[in-house]
């Protein structure tokens, strides 16, 4: 993965997660590529949808959030890490750049 792109996307994703949570404790929360969506962040299911919407607003329809999610099996989704979402966004955005 392009390292600069990854860092930038991670920063955006992490900030968006904090905004979606919208609680004070989240401001200090460290979110990295290895951070699981499950254990520490514990987003509600509807917050995960909201995250997808905000990131789609930011990166455009090319994100295909529902398509990305449904291509994974449910066990993978339960164990999802922030880095997997970042990887997907980097892939979508770099494909458009080279198209």
């Amino acid at each position: 993965m392009n390292e600069i792109a990854t860092e930038q996307v991670l920063a955006t994703v992490a900030q968006t997660i904090r905004e979606v949570i919208g609680e004070d404790w989240a401001l200090d929360l460290e979110i990295g590529l290895e951070t699981p969506f499950g254990d520490e962040i514990e987003l509600e299911s509807i917050e995960f949808v909201a995250l997808g919407e905000r990131l789609t607003q930011h990166y455009g329809q090319r994100l295909d959030f529902p398509g990305w999610l449904s291509a994974m099996d449910l066990d993978t989704i339960i164990a999802l890490r922030v880095g997997q979402l970042v990887e997907h966004i980097v892939r979508c955005t770099s494909e458009l750049a080279t198209a």
Partner: protein, 251 residues
């Protein structure tokens, strides 16, 4: 995306995919995430519309309007805004009953309908709920919640805490449960004239199974499918359910 209901409430909506339209409704205490993964699987051949029922997900909370006919009005608002042709409806649990209410009222606007674990008849489900009266929140949670949510509540983490807060809000700030407890079943004569083709899907371990088979036998153009699982089929049998629904919606 948001759609306004007739009484001015804001409903959170998402739409994606291409093809004939299908609207998917979740049940009480759920949200559009109930169907999100399955919707992703349908989107290449269907235009899928998902929305959060009033008082749920990112839709606005209202004090009342949770009866099945009022919720069918909300569905009507979504359809008027986003769907210009006869639509396929897919509902889970209470969402299935909302879809059914709408189809009985406006059969010409419903192309076909899949009811996943409809709590039919209401009378049987109301009797079940009455048995939980006074037994405390833990007993209710144990009886009603799907396993992952039950685990989250017991674990006491953020997800469980937020779910309980939402539930408390629904109970204390709205007439949702009062309205559900007063629901009258659709007349059998009306069900016997139900026009759109119907698919009823139940989990083989669900207490709604017998009612689902009964509903199938009353409706004139209906088929029943049993999948391995309980009441929360979208969570427990997502792949099998997505395949059944893909076949049905594409017919």
């Amino acid at each position: 995306m948001h759609v306004r209901t007739r009484d001015g409430l804001s409903l959170h909506v998402q739409a994606f995919g291409q093809g004939p339209p299908v609207v998917m409704l979740h049940g009480i205490s759920g949200n559009m995430m109930t169907w999100y993964w399955i919707a992703g699987r349908l989107r290449q051949r269907q235009r899928v519309v998902l929305f959060d029922l009033r008082g749920h997900g990112l839709s606005e909370l209202s004090a009342q309007g949770y009866g099945v006919e009022a919720m069918a009005d909300d569905l009507d608002a979504v359809l008027r805004e986003l769907v210009a042709q006869p639509v396929a409806l897919v509902g889970h649990s209470y969402g299935a009953m909302i879809a059914l209410a709408f189809a009985l009222r406006e059969p010409a606007r419903v192309r076909r309908m899949a009811l996943v674990e409809p709590p039919y008849p209401f009378a049987a489900r109301q009797a079940e709920l009455a048995q939980l009266d006074g037994r405390g929140a833990e007993a209710v949670a144990d009886a009603l919640l799907p396993q992952p949510l039950r685990d989250a509540v017991i674990a006491g983490g953020r997800r469980g805490r937020r779910f309980l807060e939402r539930g408390r809000q629904l109970v204390e700030s709205t007439t949702c449960f009062e309205e559900c407890r007063k629901l009258q079943d659709f007349p059998t004569s009306a069900l016997a004239r139900l026009a759109p083709p119907l698919l009823v899907i139940n989990g083989s371990q669900s207490s709604c199974l017998a009612g689902g088979k009964q509903l199938t036998s009353i409706a004139p153009d209906a088929r029943h499918v049993e999948l391995s699982g309980g009441h929360n089929l979208p969570g427990e049998a997502a792949l099998a359910l997505s395949e059944e629904l893909a076949r049905f919606c594409h017919a």
